[in-house]
Every structure is written in C-alpha cells, then in structure tokens.
C-alpha cells in the first residue's frame, strides 16, 4: 500500500517536475539581475540647450517613479536651467508647453553638475576608476548582477558626442569603456539610449555582450526638437524623448510591457527621423525583456508571519558621565575681533620646507665647481 502510494506520488512529481522544467526554462531566460542603476547624462551647456536638460530630467523622473532610488542614479547635468537667470519660472524645467509637467520637481539630486560633466568624469564613472575621496553618490557601484540604463543626450555627429562645447567622446571610446565594464563584471545587462543627431553611429562599434542600444536617428539624419514655448523662449524637449516620456508615463512598476514596445516608440511619422536599435549583442530575446528590467527596480520582499512590536520605545541606557566630573575648567567664547592681539601678533612660524628646484640646483652647481677646483684632498688644509 505504501509502495503503491510512493509510486503514485513519484509519477505525479515527475509530471510536476516536467512542468517545472518548462517554468525553470522560462525563468532561466528571464533576467537574473538583483539591482538596477541608471546613468543619465546631459552634455550641453547654454540656455538654448534647455531641451537637453529637460530630456535628461524626464528620464530621471520616470526612472525614479518606477522605483530606482537616488542612491542608484548618477545624474549629470552640464548646465543649470532651473535656476538660470533667464528662466521666467525659477526652479522648474518643463517638458510640455503650457507648463503642464515640471520634470525638475521638488526632490532632485544632481550628482555631477556644471563643469564637472566632462568626458573624463563620465568614463571614470562608467569604469569605476575614481579618486579615493569621491563620495558614494558620485560613484557607479554596480556589480555583475546589475542592470544599468545609460541615457545620453546632447549634440552629436557621425561617431561622436559633444560635451559642453569643448570636447567630444567618440563611439570607439564608448565601446571600449563598455568592454572594460564587461571585463570588470560591472554589469549584467546594459541598455543604452541616445538622443542626438546621427545617434545610431554611437552604437555601431559596440562589441561587448549583453548590450542593447536605442538611438533617436540614423546616420545622416538629424534628431529634431519638439516644440518651443513662447513664454520660456526655447524649445522644451526633443521629439524622441518626448514620445519616450509619453510611453513611460503609462508604465507602472508591475507593468509587463517589453522592449518590442519600446522599439516602436516614435515612428518616423512622429519623429521625422528614423529611430534605430541594436539587439544582436543581447543574449535574450527583446520580446522577453521587460521595460521595468531597466527602468524599474528590483525589490526584495520577505513575507513574514511574525508580529514585530514597534509600540514600545527603545529604552535609552543612561551613560555614565565619563570624564565630566574631572574637568572643571571654564570654557569661554573667543573674542571675534581682538584688536590689540592682532596688532601685536607675531608673524606666524612658517613651516620649514627643504629648498626645491632652482635654489637646490644652484647650490649643487656651486658645490660641484668648488670641489672641482679645489679637490677633496686639499680640503683638509682649509678645515
């Protein structure tokens, strides 16, 4: 009886396992990432490039709304548009005319701003080679289970992207940086979006695995801006990112939309340029990649049936005053402008530095000539 039961159970388990295999197969092809990062870069300076800052901030807003926290976002804005003196509504950056959506918001943390947005800093953030005193908020602390979203916008050309009107990054440099990231196991999967003129040229040279790239225009085409606002006086957003924002506003953290929907954003009729994408380096099928794999965040949820008591306050243990009874000296505030003390101040002792450079060379020359003329053995007679 028992063996019969065992046999039945065994067969049912085998069948269940068969189903399980399919499930596990499906699970194998889903993303195995445990954390999400985003690097959002705006590379243009000056007031008339307002739209590039608005582009970056709208992606920032979507990414934050879908769950990636500020500590996992590296936001680089090359110029300040919100508090620019030309902005008729300070502390706001709008994405739509009639000032409907303020993408700047009230809770924004910019990690690299102004002159700090350079090609060198961008590549250092990607590869992780930063000076030791760099704070955590400026670092990309990703590991081999991280999905990273990289968004670049600005002015670009065939094979390069211009940073702040003074330098540029080429597609070869970018591809090499991604290869460095792959070899250092700094990403699990990477989604690269670029919204510039001739943006497709920037992903032509990629050769590292697990990269998916989207661009707003092909080589030889210009990406166009969406619409100007007469009150602010400049174009507010670029077309591709405008329709991308519209698409992302419909995504919520539990959404099942996948990358094929993202490829359809902004067809030629709306964008005037032809958006392109590249998926040959990506191991999974784009149809099985969720939008929230890159734009949202993985949340670890542990369900517990225990009850945790939070009502009682934590008892503060009374600290024994360590040295308080011993010290009885009176402290006092310092005089802010002690005139007599200042007038009679002795010149401060400068730290002695050994002589450097020119003086050292001069003395060495004098000593050499001296010893040359007089010779060492004659010095006995002098001294």
């Amino acid at each position: 009886m028992k063996t019969h039961l065992l046999f039945n159970l065994f067969t049912t388990f085998l069948l269940a396992d068969g189903l399980n295999i399919e499930d596990s197969a499906g699970q194998f092809f889903s993303s195995g990432h445990t954390n999400n990062w985003a690097v959002l870069v705006c590379t243009s300076r000056f007031w008339f490039n307002y739209r590039h800052v608005a582009n970056t901030l709208s992606v920032y807003r979507s990414v934050k709304r879908l769950g990636i926290p500020d500590s996992h976002i590296v936001l680089m804005l090359a110029d300040d548009m919100a508090c620019n003196h030309r902005n008729p509504k300070p502390a706001t950056v709008f994405s739509h005319k009639n000032m409907e959506l303020n993408v700047y918001g009230d809770d924004v943390e910019v990690d690299y701003r102004g002159y700090e947005v350079t090609v060198e800093n961008f590549l250092r953030v990607l590869t992780g080679r930063l000076p030791p005193s760099t704070p955590r908020s400026k670092r990309l602390l990703s590991d081999d289970r991280s999905n990273i979203l990289i968004y670049l916008t600005g002015h670009g050309g065939n094979g390069f992207l211009k940073f702040q009107d003074s330098e540029e990054i080429s597609n070869v440099e970018l591809a090499d940086a991604f290869e460095q990231m792959w070899q250092k196991r700094r990403y699990n999967e990477l989604l690269f979006i670029i919204d510039t003129c001739q943006g497709a040229s920037m992903y032509e040279r990629f050769y590292s695995p697990n990269l998916m790239a989207l661009a707003s225009s092909q080589v030889g085409e210009d990406s166009l801006s969406h619409q100007p606002d007469l009150a602010i006086g400049v174009h507010l957003m670029d077309r591709y990112t405008f329709y991308l924002l519209e698409f992302l506003e419909d995504i919520h953290p539990a959404s099942k939309a996948n990358m094929n929907d993202l490829f359809k954003v902004c067809p030629k009729s709306q964008c005037v340029s032809t958006p392109g994408h590249r998926t040959d380096l990506f191991l999974r099928d784009p149809g099985s990649v969720l939008i929230t794999d890159f734009f949202g965040s993985v949340r670890k949820v542990e369900i517990t049936t225990e009850a945790i008591d939070l009502t009682e306050p934590i008892k503060e243990v009374e600290e024994r005053p360590a040295n308080g009874d011993v010290h009885k000296e009176m402290h006092s505030y310092v005089d802010q402008l002690p005139v007599s003390e200042i007038i009679h101040q002795k010149p401060k002792q400068k730290d002695w530095h050994p002589p450097d450079g020119f003086i050292l060379g001069l003395w060495t020359l004098i000593l050499l000539v001296f010893f040359q003329t007089y010779g060492i053995k004659h010095l006995r007679h002098i001294f």
């Binding site: 039961l5 085998l14 399980n20 503060e316 024994r320 402290h331 005139v339 200042i342």
Partner: protein, 639 residues
C-alpha cells in the same frame, strides 16, 4: 547552461525528500513552527544571560542591541505603561524659528533657523553611534575629519545692505566654506581636500573644485564662533566658490538633514518654486561647540541650519503691499514639528508700535523684545506648540497688510562696495569702498581679500585713503600668490574715521592662462570672490552679554563679549573680470590652412618633379572603332 543541467536531478531529489516527509506523517508543520519558535528563544536566552552577567559583574553599561531587551521587558513586565519607567533627560534638543521682517523697500525678509543641541563628545576619538535628532551624515563627518567648527553657506543673489539693512546671518554669493580643525589633525591640507569632497556629495554641490588655488588661511579673520581657547590659525581654512549655483538639488539634501524633514513644522514652508523666485536666497549649515549652561563647564554641539530669503514685492504679482505666508511660500502652517521643544514665529513690529503702518492678523498677545544688530527690536510672537495659535481652521496664515508707505530706514552703520576699474584686457584696478555712517564714532574693521593667482596684484600700488588723506592700516598681512598653486591673501586692520568713506585700491595685471585651463564658456569671465569685512560696530543700546539666557536664535548667533558693540560681517560683491581669451577655433583653422598650403604648394611642386609624361593616343570615335573591329575580323591591320 551547465548549472541548469545540474539542477534538474537536484529538483527531483528535493521533491522526493518532500514526498518522504508527507508520507512520514503530519509532523511537517510542527517542525516549521518549532524552527520559527527557536529564533526568538535564542536571543531571549542570550539577553537573559547577558543580564545575568551584567548583574554579576555590575559592569559598565554599554549600549547593547536594545531590541531584545525590549522584547524581554515586554514578556516579563506585561501590562506596565511606559510612563512609569524613568526616562533619562534627553540629551538632544531641537528648536525651530522663523523671523519675518518687513523691509522699507516693500520687500519682505524671512529667516528660518533650525537648531539641534546635542550633549555629546565628538572629540578625542570618542565613538558616537546612536543618533537621534542630530543627522548621522554630519556627525560622521565631524568625527572622521576631526572638525571643530564647520560653516558652509550657499547663496543666490547679493544682499543689498543699503536697501535692506543688515542680515541676521551674512553670506557671500556662491558657496562659502570655512572650517576650524581640531589640534589633533596632522595634515590639515589633505584633510581639507577630503572634507570638501565628502561635503560635495552630501550637498550635491561642486565643492570638489575647492583646492589649493582658492583656499586661504586667514591670519586674523574668522575666529571661531564656538567655545575654545586654541586659536592657532594653522587649523583654519577658508574657501569660496563665487560661481556656484544654488538650486533645488542643494535644498533637497539640506531639508533631509532636519529631524522632521519637510513634513512637519516650519519646514513645510520650504517649497523650492517660491524660494528660488526671490531676490536673495541663502541656506547655510553651522556646526560648533557651545556652552551648555551658564557655568560653561560642559560643551554641547550645536547644529544650526539657516535659510534666509528676501521676496521681491513686484516679482510676485499684485502691486499692493500685502504679504502673507501663503503668498510667500504657497503653504500655510498646520502644526509644529513634534520633535521640537520650541517652534516660534517672530514678526518684527518695531517700526509699527501703534499699528499705524501695517496691520498684522491673526492678532497675538505675545510680545518679545530682543537686542539684535545693535538695536532693541520688538517682535510679535506666535507659538506653534500651542494649539490655539492655529485657531478654529487649524491652519495659520499670517497676513501683513500695509496702510501707509511712510517711514524711512536707519542707515546701516557699516557698508561696503567693490568694483573693477580700468580698461582693456591687460591691467586693471580693484577698488574697495567701506562706508562708516556713524556720526561721531570710529571703529576698526578687518578686511580680508582673496584674489585668484591669474590677477597679478601689484601690492606696491596699494593705497588706503579716508576723506582724501592717507590712512595707514595698523596690521597688514599679505601672502603673495604662486601661479597655479595659491591665491593672493591680503588682510588689513583699518580704522574707519566717523562719517567717511575709506577707499582701498590696488592695481593688477591679467595673466594669460594655458588653453586647457579655460572653462567651456570663457567669454563669460572669471569670478573673484567677495571681500570679507569683519568689525565690531558700536551699538545704540547695550547688548546682552549673558550667553545662556533663553534668547531667540537669531540674536544668539554671534557671541557677544562686550555691551557697547556688536560683531558684524559684511560681504562685498564678487567681481567678474575678463581674461584675455584666445580664439578656440584657431587650432582648427590653422590645421585647415596648413594642410591646404601643403597640399597645394608642396603637392603641386612634387607632382611636377616626379611625374613622368607619356604620349597616349586619344581613343578613336565610334565609326572608327567599328571599322577596326571589321578589319580585325578580316585580318587587315587597323586604321
């Protein structure tokens, strides 16, 4: 792939073992429950043993993981209310206040101050780990970098002293950071560099641009504002970034340092859209050790977060002169911060004793007088910790409505201006003017000037004149600059005669920078930081030297040692100078031109010399070609 292939037999094994469990009986669920129950048992027993050992040894009360002790207490003392347990006196205290001062030009000045006092010891390597009201990020900065005092401010706009009077807390445009380190620090410069990097991450500002080219070590200004008896200026560093922009990304981390965040209390008024739409906005963080009581035997650490803002009358819409909390901040107040021991609003009504100039509603009976900025001012006080302040609508919206526009302002006693004179891009002259508006008293001022190295000052042309005559400073400290290493530092103690203008002029020459040292927008110009003028100005009323009485926060920032004068710090405007800027398109132009010249000139010469000429028959016409083909077929020589 390999991992997957291995996992299927593992799954089978797990399923088999699972089935064994099912067959074995219904012991599974109790097993799980036992496992769950084991977990709380262990720490409970651990806590019990810990308590026993404590009782046995009667040893030092270290901080343990209090969570288990609480659970232990909950199981042992079952229905005991919390109040009966003796709560120790809290060691930290939080106060918030807002001072509103209507200005004569129609604008309104609002100053927020949030102060956290904490009785703890960061010095001497003491490890602090339990933070309550004091923000942990700043506490760790203080302990790690052995900071004794830290003052950092971010300002947008320039304070117009002649129209607005003196501010409660002065600050220069841009970012300013000055720090006193403790005497246990061996390498002050390296610590300073690391500190600026860490602060740039905390406040989302580009403070990492502070390096040796814009840091100075003042020798007499910027004495510590906290208690202490060591004033060796080797431990002081001062730097300013006049170009630094202040925007919501600096306000966000600043608000997160407050105990209540921006959710309750006065901080709900801090909305960036209104705060940055103003003539002047300054937010600062000041950390210093202060006296705890009148005996001043123990020190506690004070963290002050201040925000000063001046709203423009004409900027905000309607022309009529009427200000309210809603108009200024687009919010009203509904409650005080629950963690605050005091939460007050002060409205300056000194110029309105009988209510003839403006009317304040809702009316309040609380009045307070304070000695601030050398004058006795009267304030109407709203105490937010009292429920009846909010009235029946449960929200407080102060309204100040003007009836007449008379009255003029007392001229501020000390005022300064600075500008660049000269023409061209080679030389120039810096003029600093200091005004002493007191009718009969003269007082000394300490002028601190820090000029970047690319403006080469000629100190032999330095002149100080008052009322046309030469005024020799009683103390001059000058540290010359070193190219790309140090800026100029000039400190002078000048006695300002009564009712006069003192002018300090110095000539300079502009340097040519290397082409990689220019910013991406070099035609904007280069900024020179503000001059700092520190002075003890004679006051009209006796100042309060008792430092421990309950005083409003805005009057107790600068320590007062004598009654007849008060300390004031005035900042001048920053200067914007144009350096000779090269044309950055020239390298491209030169390459194009050179390549063209080489290609055309040398290339054609080379071709002439090395080309060999061959004679070639021109290709024949179509008819001839057909004829040639026919001739070839016939075997006849072609034409």
């Amino acid at each position: 792939m390999a991992a997957y292939r291995c996992s299927s037999p593992v799954w089978l094994f797990i399923l088999c073992s699972f089935s064994v469990f099912i067959i074995a009986g219904s012991e599974e669920t109790p097993v799980a429950q036992e496992q769950h129950a084991n977990v709380p048992d262990n720490p409970q027993t651990a806590a019990e043993t810990a308590e026993q050992t404590e009782k046995e040894t009667g040893g030092a009360e270290e901080r343990r993981w209090e969570g288990t002790e609480v659970r232990d207490a909950a199981t042992q003392k079952q229905a005991e209310p919390v109040v009966l347990q003796s709560t120790p006196r809290p060691k930290d205290d939080f106060q918030e206040e807002l001072v509103v001062r209507p200005l004569h030009s129609g604008d309104i000045y609002a100053s927020f101050q949030f102060r956290t006092l904490w009785e703890t010891d960061f010095m001497r390597g003491n490890k602090v780990s339990h933070y309550r009201l004091f923000p942990k990020s700043l506490g760790q900065v203080i302990s790690k970098f052995s900071v004794r005092e830290l003052h950092i401010s971010f300002t947008q706009g320039y304070w117009r002293t002649m129209q607005w009077g003196q501010p409660y807390l002065p600050s220069p445009p841009g970012a300013e950071l000055w720090v006193w380190f403790q005497d246990s620090v061996t390498d002050v410069d390296a610590t300073w560099k690391e500190l600026t990097n860490v602060l740039s991450g905390i406040f989302c500002a580009s403070l990492n641009f502070i390096d040796s080219t814009n840091t100075v070590q003042p020798s007499a200004s910027f004495k510590p504002l906290g208690i202490g008896n060591v004033t060796d200026h080797r431990f002081l560093r001062y730097a300013t970034l006049p170009r630094e922009i202040v925007c919501t990304e600096n306000l966000t981390p600043w608000k997160k340092l407050l105990p209540c965040g921006s959710k309750a209390g006065l901080a709900v008024l801090l909305k960036s859209e209104k705060l940055f739409h103003s003539s002047f906005h300054s937010q600062a963080v000041h950390i210093r050790p202060v006296c705890q009581d009148w005996q001043c035997k123990t020190t506690s650490w004070e963290l002050r977060q201040t925000l000063n803002v001046v709203f423009d009358l004409h900027n905000s819409g309607q022309g009529k002169r009427e200000w309210s909390l809603f108009k200024m901040f687009s919010r009203t107040l509904t409650e005080a911060c629950p963690l605050a021991s005091s939460s007050k609003i002060y409205i300056d009504i000194t110029d309105n004793p009988e209510g003839e100039h403006f009317e304040l509603s809702p009316a309040t009976s609380l009045l307070s007088q304070a000695m601030v900025l050398g004058d006795r001012r009267t304030f109407s006080v709203y105490d937010l910790t009292q429920q009846d302040t909010f009235g029946s609508v449960r929200s407080l919206n102060l309204l100040i409505r003007w009836k007449s526009t008379e009255g003029d302002m007392l001229r501020p006693l000390l005022h300064a201006e600075r500008y660049v004179a000269g023409y061209g891009l080679q030389t120039g002259e810096i003029h600093t003017l200091m005004y002493n508006n007191h009718p009969y008293r003269s007082f000394p001022v300490l002028l601190l000037d820090s000029v970047p190295w690319y403006l080469r000052l000629y100190i032999h042309t330095l002149t100080v004149t008052s009322k046309g005559k030469d005024n020799k400073p009683s103390y001059i400290h000058y540290q010359p600059s070193k190219d790309r290493v140090r800026p100029h530092l000039l400190e002078m103690l000048v006695q300002l005669p009564p009712n006069s203008v003192t002018e300090v002029t110095v000539q300079f020459e502009r340097a040519l920078l290397k082409w990689t040292e220019y910013t991406p927008d070099p035609n904007h110009g280069f900024y020179v930081g503000s001059s700092v003028i520190s002075s003890l100005v004679p006051s009209t009323v006796a100042m309060d030297t008792n430092s421990t009485q309950e005083r409003p926060l805005f009057s107790s920032f600068f320590p007062c040692k004598e009654e007849s004068s008060y300390f004031v710090r005035v900042y001048t405007e920053p200067l914007l100078v144009n350096l000779p800027t090269p044309d950055f398109s020239m390298p491209y132009n030169v390459i194009c031109l050179t390549c063209t010249v080489v290609a055309v000139g040398y290339g054609s010469l080379y071709n002439l010399l090395t080309r060999s000429f061959q004679i070639e028959e021109p290709s024949p016409g179509l008819a001839k070609r057909i004829a040639n083909v026919i001739r070839k077929m016939r075997g006849v020589p072609p034409l």
